[in-house]
Amino acid sequence: MEYFVQQLINGVTLGSIYGLIAIGYTLVYGIVGMINFAHGDIFMVGAFVSLIVITALGLTASTGLGLTILALILVLVISMIVASVYGWTVERVAYRPLRGSFRLAPLITAIGMSIVLQNYVQISQGARVKPLQPIISGGHTIMRRVDANGEFLVQVSNMQIFIVVITFSLMVIFTLLIAKTPLGRAQRACEQDTKMAALSGINVDRTISLTFVLGAALAAVAGLMFLLYYGVIDFFIGFVAGVKAFTAAVLGGIGSLPGAMLGGLVIGLIETFWSAYFSIEYKDVAAFAMLALVLIFLPQGLLGKPEVEKV
């Protein structure tokens, strides 16, 4: 029981990170109908920028908790801005010129952009894994059991709390942005009918750019959280995390915002429980197998779009 609760906490932490990345896949798919394969690499760039800024600020575990959190929010903002510039540029350079050409073309440039970003980071930052010492220490014991086998504790670390709180707050802010603001309305209008959106005076190109920017900013948040959670990153993390987040988006129903968040949680939980009860070596296989199963048996996903009723 205690072991189960501990895995649940870990799974939710990981799942919230996947959910953040999945939002970017789903939004871009919704509005331009393509899978942005470079999105996972934007997440990776976000993780690297976070590491560079943390190092520059000289943050360590001995920095006070309050100061650490303030500094991390600064890291977050810088990383979001830099990743947004990357996301914007990728759309502008690689996707916009191909809009309206055959369907495979943007897919091919997307894979190309993914390789470009990986190689660029590999060359500029080196190919070896980059470690980060834990900078948020401490935690809380929420369950405790002593038996013949010894003592077992269920713990939530301060870092997990930080990750989950920031991630969920951003998801709420973001959901409100899409549901309530003129920008969100324009975004949904373009997603439903680009031509009519333009006929209503909405600048479709700008809305698409903003969608890439928002997706990239959320991926950068996920990048920082991933860095804090695992403590090591390399230029290839975007591929594996990207495929998992993509799976999350498909599982939730590609194009659906709540679906992406739910899908992220489910994938995080599956991965964590799979590692805990079966085999940690095959944890990535679980996610890939899930993708195959979803595509075969539930292609519209858990919260797939309701069909528009036609009269």
């Binding site: 003129p182 309305r185 324009a186 949904r188 209008a189 439903q192 009918d193 031509k195 009519m196 959106a197 333009a198 006929l199 209503s200 005076g201 909405i202 600048n203 479709v204 779009k305 309701p306 528009v308 009723e309 036609k310 009269v311």
Partner: protein, 242 residues
Amino acid sequence: MNAPALLSVSQVETFYGRIQALRGVSLDVHEGEIVTLIGANGAGKSTLMMTICGSPQARSGQILYRGHDITRTPTHQIMHMGIAQSPEGRRIFGRMTVMENLRIGASVADPSHFDRDIERAFALFPLLKERRNQRGGTLSGGEQQMLAIARALMAQPRLLLLDEPSLGLAPLVIKQIFGAIRELNATQGLTVFLVEQNAHHALRLAHRGYVMVNGKITMTGTGVELLGREEIRAAYLEGGVH
């Protein structure tokens, strides 16, 4: 009519790939007029409406609106200049509520007039007020058409483009919609450019009309004149094409 036209289309040619849909179309719409364009299915009427809005753009010819050349202006900018369209097929945002559809329509209007404009729209089509929190996709065809017109009106246009607002609707609903168009024109002086296959209603409503055949304007005159012409009666009114 010697004053410069509000909208002036001259020698416009539009293509879809290699298919030519408009073959040198010229027409004028003056401030305060209701002008109709009639023609059989496939004549190029919707293409002209969309070309005026820059989607697709004309390959040659010129479109002047209030004296500005808008032939190469991006669609969203044209809509900011006081042109609004209720397009063919209505194109309601099906997963948005009636209210949200109207807010989208108001994207280009002065936000401080929103409350006043929404009250006007609801006064024109009271049904929409009852349905305001319902999703667009769940409305009936007639309600969707009213919403499409109301959405266009929320932009506070000087020129309203209507593409076949009567298509597929019951006679009573058509009457209501045409009544609303007449009222907007009479009370607010709104200029209306109306595309119709339903020539009888359209010609009776409009001050002037044009007839389009195969991407060309073949006839023009006042509504009454065109209604009286034998070839119009044969082709568009009495068991003709439509």
